[in-house]
Assembly symmetry: C2
Homo-oligomer: 235 residues x 2
DNA sequence: ACAAAAGTGTTTACACTACACCCATGT
DNA sequence: ACATGGGTGTAGTGTAAACACTTTTGT
């Protein structure tokens, strides 16, 4: 039994993958493999197949096009303008992912010419993908101001100066390091390690790891992670 | 030209309509007009037609089933489990709406047996609609803690005690009225009127209206609208 | 006169900000 | 020895919470 007289529509998923390499926030793009707009830069996209839930479809598309697996993936928004794909009406569900670039460096397949772009230097993308990326950037900034989501972008062991430079990159601001470290440590989410990262300074900075239990338990609590949030542009 | 070898899928929209009648937060439901599950309680839903964008489709569906037009409507989430509709695979985009029940009382059509239910007494709904409602309630609580969204549920003129009882209903809590009124007034969003509402008390409470300009300009700023947000359960 | 809800002010604790110096180490 | 980035403390300010009494008016 089926619903008769109803029009079925193509349903696609597009993944916006943010990565951090210790220096800058970057965006993963591939060269589109099919017409139209073949070889133009594009998000990782594909169609939802009948036997796959949205979650599964999103993970499979990401895996197939980039090799990435087991990363943080969250639904962003449905995009459904009538002519967003010139070939045929397609409703696209945008997802965004957060990864530590170095950790997934080996897993990342270059079969589809996946490349990292600085988020401030994103080329023209196909369809409405630039709009999706802008929305994802805003959502990331919004969410990161309240929840400790940016840890998804860091390696297991990281230093507070690394963390701060991540926040500073995302908000394109400079924060006071004394206040920043006090605020971050006061969340109780970080566990200090005995060893230091000596790559970025002579003195070396202590490594920290995330307290996974507290992270999961407190993820939805409101934290005040950035100074003067009202002065920043989010949405 | 079309994408060949791809499966097209039914795309539906389901609208979660919250309303406030001055006393309680309520949810609008209708009795489903078609098989399967005919006559069971359901959200307002329909299929996305090929010539309608998602925004348009959501508004049309809401209008057709309830008569409501021009209300606050926001995309919530895509639901895409394989068997969420037993008849045929359907991806549903959930939207939620906020209205003042009295203001739309006359506009509300009862053609489809639309009825208001207290949000704490929601019957069993078809498919995954109960899950959608739960998510919408959480999102509303989350968003209302940070942004002045609840004004969408109030009439043009309202009193601070009314506003407080709305917040108290949504968070199932009791707030200190001195702190509440100070906090709300300090947002600068309210304009005091000369007249009073004398229905709910002998002394009467001054009416306020929303400063629309400031409301639109400040909507995305972070406001601290409820006490001790960290102690409340959101998500 | 009394009941019922509106309205208002103060004190206290905590959180955020601004700000400057010492520390450890590699060169 | 010096340059570089890491790490820490304090004072001042502002914001949020706890708390109780007076006002108005309908009955």
């Amino acid at each position: 039994m089926k619903y008769s007289h109803q029009t079925r529509i193509l349903v696609a998923i597009d993944c916006i993958v943010f990565g951090f390499d210790g220096e800058k926030l970057k965006l993963l793009l591939i060269q589109r493999g099919m017409e139209p707009e073949k070889n133009k830069w594009s998000l990782m996209g594909g169609f939802v197949e009948p036997d796959k839930s949205l979650e599964v479809a999103a993970n499979v598309i990401l895996k197939d096009l980039t090799g990435l697996e087991g990363v943080y993936l969250e639904q962003l928004q449905a995009f459904g303008g009538i002519n967003r794909d010139p070939i045929e009406r397609t409703v696209s569900l945008a997802y965004f992912a957060l990864i530590d670039i170095h950790q997934y460096e080996k897993q990342l397949s270059h079969e589809h010419h996946a490349e990292w772009f600085e988020t401030s230097k994103i080329p023209q993308l196909i369809f409405d993908h630039n709009e999706m990326v802008e929305m994802a950037k805003k959502k990331l900034r919004y969410k990161a101001a309240l929840h400790p989501i940016l840890f998804e972008l860091l390696p297991e062991k990281f230093t507070i100066p690394q963390l701060q430079s991540l926040y500073e990159g995302i908000y394109d601001s400079v924060f006071d390091k004394r206040n920043f470290s006090r605020k971050i440590l006061s969340t109780g989410l970080l566990i200090k390690q005995g060893d230091k990262d000596k790559l970025n300074s002579k003195k070396g900075a202590f490594y920290y790891i995330l307290d996974k239990g507290k992270y999961n338990a407190n993820f939805h609590a409101f934290l005040n992670l950035i100074p003067n949030p009202d002065h920043l542009q989010f949405v």
